[in-house]
Point group: C7
Chain length 95, copies 7
């Protein structure tokens, strides 16, 4: 069963901890090599963030636990790449 | 007869197993080298997912069996590449 | 007279044989090196498919015969590349 | 005076000879190295085609003669590149 | 915990110091290797600027202090990259 | 003072000489290495053409003289690149 | 404090000196390696031009002086890059 090498998830998080500390905590999860967080939108209570993480052996459960320990939730899993390399999603005539 | 090297299919699946486990199961099919799943949309019952898989010798029947064993169905086959290399679909004036 | 190295055709085909087998049959034509089929649209009776094929010495007649043997028809020939290399169609101010 | 290395022309042609043979004939013109024909539109009588040809020493007169011998006409010359290399047309703020 | 290697922030700043001096001051922060400032919009009182900074070990607090010392404020943190390399944010079907 | 290495100009020209001969004449100007002409639009009297020329030491006056000798006029100078290399115009948030 | 390596400014200039001479004068400023001017729009009195300049050690004051000596004004500074290399401004979800 192939290892997960890239995950793109949509999360909701409170304003604290702020995005920088939040991203560093996510990047500190075992198996994660690099992380980019992009702010989608924010209101007074929460931030909606797109999280792209890459690594040799990603684990969604560890990611969800970490997000929850930081007061957030994984709202949806938008892209999952696994196997010997990362297949890029390419536009097709059906998109 | 050329081997299939890339398949892009549109599937419907229940929420369980979730997308990560689902993608790993697909990636575990004989002949599959790498897999990317992209969430198209979801409602309370099902997830609609675009599955891009690559490998030296892909087999749609094995893919359909695996998707069905996971409770889903292959809704449509959107792109098929076979032969000595992968021809990229390029936009033409007729698209 | 230059050999044809890339052909993009628009075909109509019945649902049987399905797109994977259909693409493999096309890829099995003499002179074809690689093939990508992209689903444009489908209804209850037919599938409309964009077929991109490459090879050292493509022959439209052989392609048409093969498509017809599979129950389909070549609806239009959308792009033809021939010569010592493939000239990419580039957008101009007149497109 | 620089040699012409790329020409993009818009042509009108009857359905016969079909696009594949037509393209091969164009590619057979002296000085032409490679040719791509893209179907713009067609009606019952004619096909409107964008022809991109490259070569070391292209000659529009020879191209026009060949198109006319095949029953077509060069409707407009849309892009001409000449000199020591091909300058790509790049978008500017005035396009 | 991974180091921050790229930060994109949205700032509000007064017209003085002007954008060039402002950018040089930001680039002078410890840990910053390179900086690009892009003007989003301006009115009579303030400039709204997108600041992209890269470095081996970025520190948001030092950035905020520097921006405030220059009379501005960090309005939002829009993108944070950390880890062994920079994961590019790629469009998904959910964007 | 830096030499001009790329010029993009918008010209109006009569139908004679046609675009191919016109482009070759422009390419024959001293200092010009390569030229691409793109038809913007045409009416019964004139052709409006975008001319992109590159060379080690371009001279607008020589270009204007040549265009006028061919019966045309330089309508506007849209892009000028000079110096040790060509800086590509990149989109900014102000475009 | 990092050196400025790229500046994109929006300027207003009279028709004289014309864009070619103007660009050459800008390129002649100490510290400038290469310059591209792109015409944004023009009316009877002035030209609005986007100026992209690169160099090892750019100086806005010298640029402003040069623009003013040529009868123009720097209307806005749209992009400033400084540091060890040029960080490209990349689109984010907030643009």
């Amino acid at each position: 069963m192939g290892q997960i090498h890239r995950l793109v998830v949509d999360i909701l998080k409170p304003h604290e901890p702020p995005l920088v500390e939040f991203t560093q905590e996510i990047d500190g999860i075992e198996g994660v090599d690099a992380t980019t967080s992009s702010l989608i939108e924010l209101d007074q209570e929460v931030q909606n963030v797109k999280l792209s993480i890459e690594g040799e052996e990603l684990d969604l459960e560890r990611l969800e636990d970490a997000v929850e320990n930081l007061g957030g939730t994984v709202h949806s899993v938008d892209e999952v790449s696994c196997g010997e390399y990362i297949v890029e999603d390419r536009p097709t005539l059906q998109d």
